[in-house]
């Protein structure tokens, strides 16, 4: 999960779009949730 922490918000949003994961803006209170969603998608 940690390797997503190095991504910028813009990069993270691009991965969410690439994986077609529904999402809102990446802010402090949502970032962890979206990193988890990507991790789950990739695993």
């Amino acid at each position: 999960m940690d390797d997503y922490a190095v991504l910028s918000d813009t990069e993270l949003a691009a991965v969410l779009r690439q994986y077609n994961i529904p999402h809102g803006p990446i802010v402090g209170s949502t970032r962890k949730l979206y990193e988890k969603k990507i991790f789950e998608y990739e695993t």
């Binding site: 529904p22 809102g24 803006p25 209170s29 949502t30 949730l33 988890k36």
Partner: protein, 75 residues
């Protein structure tokens, strides 16, 4: 809906404490939410809005943040 739910919706969102006062969220979960900085109803409402009112995302966030199970997060 439960009495708790009726009480909750009866008062304005502005000053609502979170924690045990919420339908579905008992004292234990409410405590964890407060520890996570979500100590007022409007802050959790803000999180729902920032998640673009997506119920699935919101429920998942609630589960991750305070361990709410499916029923609790639905309530």
């Amino acid at each position: 809906t439960s009495q708790k739910h009726r009480d909750f919706v009866a008062e304005p969102m502005g000053g609502k404490a979170s924690g045990g006062a919420w339908p579905g969220i008992g004292d234990a979960l409410g405590k964890r939410l407060e520890e996570g900085g979500f100590d007022k109803a409007y802050v959790v409402l803000g999180q729902f809005l920032v998640l673009k009112k997506d119920e699935d995302l919101f429920r998942e966030w609630l589960k991750d943040t305070c361990g709410a199970n499916a029923k609790q997060s639905r309530d």
